[in-house]
């Protein structure tokens, strides 16, 4: 089986995101970049399949600038077999549909049986590209997947839902958006890192048209600073409890 994982390079989850002076983007200087976490799970899921079934070939692809090659190398170091970069001047400004169109041509060239994406990238948190790529390919997709297995006549897929998993079967080519792998994404071996350093990463032009569905960021606000929390101290426990519950519902909107 040939699996293609689509990934995105994003600021690492340990990075403290700062809003840039323009008020509508984030500071990229001094940021550590890594593979978006759900995409890492997708890679791990693909590699777990490869560990079990030796004839599996795992490719990775991303649409992005030159810097994205580091993310591809990280994936190669983890054990992926091949990588390609879809790139071009316009690649940074592509929306979900444009990105999907750019990735589509890579998929058509590489001819995988299965495409995996993370369920959403941790920068825009949209979750659009996976389903959009499936649509561009004319494939079905299943989202929030935690596991898959090759079975007679296709692929069995575990989709996480409330209280359990729906199990689906796909007879042919399918795209999955991944929620989680059973194990944490693997730390690469040093031979893996060394091999990945030397590996050629072919570039493909991003021949996507500008799509009409772009989203414009008007402004960004930094998160409220931690530590200035509201502290309830002394006084009636019941009153505190009620006030806290109300705040969580109406102010924090988390109930």
């Amino acid at each position: 089986m040939k699996i293609l994982v689509c990934l995105k390079q994003v600021p690492d989850s340990t990075t403290r995101v700062k809003v840039a002076p323009d008020g509508k983007s984030v500071v990229t200087d001094g940021v550590t970049w890594s593979i978006s976490p759900y995409d890492e799970y997708a890679i791990e899921l693909a590699l777990e399949h490869k560990d079990a079934a030796g004839d599996t070939v795992v490719g990775v692809v991303t649409a992005g600038g030159a810097r994205s090659k580091d993310a591809l190398r990280q994936a190669l170091a983890m054990g992926c077999d091949e990588a390609s970069l879809v790139t071009g001047d316009a690649v940074g400004s592509l929306g979900a549909l444009g990105t999907a169109a750019a990735l589509r041509s890579a998929v058509l060239d590489l001819r995988p049986d299965l495409v995996l994406c993370g369920k959403q990238a941790s920068d825009d948190d949209q979750g659009s590209v996976g389903p959009a790529l499936a649509e561009a390919l004319g494939w079905p997709h299943v989202s929030v997947v935690t596991k898959f297995a090759a079975v007679d006549g296709g692929l069995q897929i575990w989709k996480e839902t409330e209280g359990g998993h729906e199990i689906w079967k796909a007879p042919g080519q399918v795209l999955l958006t991944v929620q989680k792998s059973e194990k944490e994404p693997r730390y690469p071996s040093l031979p893996g890192i060394m091999k990945a350093k030397k590996k050629e990463i072919p570039e493909r032009p991003a021949d996507a048209p500008q799509d009409a569905a772009t989203i414009e960021v008007l402004s960004m606000e930094p998160p409220p600073a931690r530590g200035g929390g509201k502290i309830f101290k002394d006084g009636d426990v019941r009153a505190h409890a009620t006030e806290l519950a109300t705040l969580l519902r109406d102010e924090a909107k988390v109930l």
Binding site: D12, T32, K183, E184, R186, S189, L190, G192
Partner: protein, 673 residues
């Protein structure tokens, strides 16, 4: 005394000697070829120290005579010294027997007396050892037939020696003008006539044949240490104890860590031959003591057994790699991961075996070659890579603790004398931030010119290196070394012994040479120079917990104690018997801070129990336990919390005790001190 080897006797003796020594040499040659399977390693630098080691560790038996082992250590020393004296006597017997010549000096009265005095001491020590093995088995000692065979052979040697001497004296075989062996002279009156002559011949032959049997048996036995200790001590590592071996040109290597017996150095194999199976390493191992899978003695012996098992095959086929040591049947990865690298084993080993290096070499194989480190360790390594600290805290918040405290960065104060390398724990852990603030106050009060690197600092790499990720350590170390170079840093203060150890002992491997001090060393200097004034302070009993990377790894036992002694109101309590070089680990070293700790009791919980027990024995419970290490502090905090005694026993850093007693400024950050 003339040997009973006239005519055919000498020939028989010659044949027997050839057989005995031949068997010895045959086996020894084989062991030598196995040993040479190991990686090459230069171990000949610093000859002066090596010869001094031979005198102190080998001849004077210094490492055997350690605190808890003094009786058995002395017994061993008597056997050892006796062995040396009597071996000279035996050589004399054989030489005299075969060619009729004497070894120079053996006819002197001193020597004759020495032989007998040691014969008695050896016999008593043997009896003691036999009784101990049979009836008071030390918990960690590996008891096998081998031990009894050797004790038996030595006993036969001593008895036959005394018998031949007595019979010799009784038969008037001592030449005129020569000293009679005193014990022989004592027993001679009970012997007489032709029986004595026969006994002399019989005892002489028994003695000599036993010596030859002993020689033949030795290389099959753990008692080979009689021979191998000499080179093992001589070739002991010249690296500082706290420094692991550098993998040079790491990017060009084919395999990483101990993928094969060939990847361990010849000296590591010599360690295996030299292990006496005394069990002192295991006796002092915090992992073993708390029910973990690790047994340091077993690690050494497993490697030796693997070499004996696969040696022939590896010699036959130079391309064969054999079983990876971390995956041999006997050693399991969880044993290797349980090690805190506390060096209690290394400290106690009487024959200078280097346990940690072996464990780390096997970890290196698991981590770098197989990417098989425990998942939590992998997470910590990913965090170091991406955030520059093992907890995965945002790198941009590294210097937040210093905000508004007048602590300059090197960028702001390029002419600062010292770099304070804060370390990840004191930068990100809120408990340890108080320690960093305390040190900043002390340095300020003493007028020390210092600066920090701020967000340009990154993890020194110690956890990665000890988890077996040499590559990540080198990357981290190089980044720091480059930053140090950019600011022309020459002097470094570290409040974390792990930072201190790695920068002082390991950065030189990559060309980073600085004058590095631990904060408590510097504070001790400041106190003795009178640059710190104290104004009173609570009267309290404070136990001192020796951090492994200050104490055992770097020999810093006195400075922290001297600082505590200088503090008004502080009554220093020793956590006896687990203090100084027998200090018990907190459980966090070797990257264990970031790993699950199962099965068994947590090491830090045991440590807290030891503190309480020491208090009980001394009749005073300490109000605080002070340390000089952020990891120890985190672990002790957790330990007292788990026991629910955080109100009775407060863990602190010695620096906090110091800061709370500084005169003047009262705007002290609330500390636990």
């Amino acid at each position: 005394m003339t040997p009973p080897t006239s005519g055919a006797g000498a020939l028989v003796l010659l044949v027997l000697a050839a057989a005995g020594f031949g068997a010895f040499l045959y086996r020894a040659g084989k062991l030598y070829r196995y040993l040479r399977l190991g990686r090459n390693e230069q171990r000949t630098g610093g000859l002066g120290r090596r010869f001094r080691d031979e005198v102190v560790i080998y001849l004077l038996q210094r490492k055997l005579l350690k605190r808890p082992y003094i009786v058995r250590g002395l017994a061993h020393a008597f056997i050892f010294w006796g062995f040396i004296v009597i071996t000279i006597g035996t050589a004399d017997l054989l030489l005299n027997g075969v060619v009729g010549r004497r070894v120079p000096g053996t006819e002197s009265a001193v020597f004759v007396w020495a032989v007998d005095v040691f014969a008695v001491l050896v016999l008593s020590s043997i009896a003691l050892a036999g009784v101990r093995r049979a009836f008071f088995k030390p918990p960690r000692m590996h008891i096998a037939l081998d031990g009894y065979v050797i004790l038996g052979l030595i006993a036969v040697l001593m008895v036959s020696l005394v018998a031949l001497e007595s019979a010799g004296v009784a038969s008037a075989l001592v030449a005129r003008g020569q000293t009679s062996p005193p014990v022989g002279a004592l027993l001679a009156p009970f012997l007489g006539g032709p029986a004595a002559v026969a006994l002399f011949a019989g005892a002489w032959w028994v003695h000599v044949v036993t010596v030859l049997a002993f020689a033949a048996y030795l290389p099959q036995s753990k008692h080979l240490h009689i021979v191998t200790t000499l080179p093992n001590v001589f070739f002991r590592s010249e690296r500082p104890r706290g420094a692991l071996r550098l993998i040079e040109q790491i990017e060009d290597q084919e395999t990483f860590g101990a993928a094969s017996l060939r990847d361990l150095s010849w000296k590591q194999h010599l360690d295996g031959y030299t292990c006496t199976e005394c069990g002192r390493c295991s006796d002092n191992c915090p992992a073993l003591a708390t029910g973990k899978a690790l047994d340091p003695q077993k690690i050494v012996l497993d490697l030796r057994d693997l070499l004996l098992r696969e040696g022939d095959q590896l010699l036959k086929d130079p391309t064969a790699a054999g079983t990876p040591p971390a995956h041999q049947l006997a050693t399991k990865p969880e044993e290797l991961w349980a090690c805190t690298t506390c060096a209690a084993c290394v400290e106690q080993c009487p024959v200078t075996i280097e346990h940690i290096d072996k464990i780390v070499d096997m970890r290196r194989y698991l981590t770098m070659q197989e990417a098989a480190a425990p998942p939590e360790a992998q997470r910590a390594m990913t965090n170091i890579e991406r955030a520059g600290n093992p907890w995965g805290e945002a790198a941009s918040t590294r210097a937040d603790w210093a905000a508004g405290r007048g602590v300059p960065t090197f960028a702001e104060k390029p002419d600062a004398e010292y770099l304070y390398f804060v370390g990840c724990a004191a930068s990100f852990d809120r408990r340890n931030q108080r320690v960093a603030k305390a040190l900043a106050r002390i340095l300020g009060a003493a007028g020390v010119s210092f600066a920090i690197l701020g967000t340009e600092e990154t993890c020194n790499g110690d956890p990665a290196r000890r988890m077996g990720n040499e590559y990540l350590w080198q990357q981290q170390a190089q980044r720091n070394i480059e930053t140090f170079a950019a600011y022309k840093v020459r002097k470094v203060i570290a409040s974390c012994p792990h930072c201190f150890n790695t920068i002082a002992n390991e950065y030189p491997q990559l060309g980073g040479r600085y004058e590095v001090v631990h904060a408590l060393q510097l504070v001790q200097d400041l106190i003795s120079e009178g640059r710190i004034a104290f104004s009173g302070g609570e009267t309290e009993t404070v136990a001192y917990h020796d951090p492994c990377y200050l104490g055992r790894h770097n020999g810093i036992y006195e400075d922290p104690r001297a600082v505590m002694d200088a503090l008004p109101g502080v009554e220093l309590m020793e956590i006896e018997p687990h203090h100084r070089e027998r200090g018990f680990c907190c459980g966090a070293g070797g990257g264990r801070m970031w790993m699950e700790e199962q099965p068994g009791q947590r090491v830090n919980h045991r440590r807290v129990e030891q503190i309480l027990a020491a208090g009980e024995a001394q009749g005073t419970q300490p109000a605080k336990v002070a340390s000089g290490c952020p990891f120890c502090l985190i672990m002790l905090e957790e330990g007292v919390g788990a026991k629910g005694i955080q109100e009775q026993l407060r863990p602190v850093d010695v620096l906090e005790l110091v800061a709370s007693r500084l005169g003047g400024d009262t705007t002290v950050e609330r500390t636990n001190a």
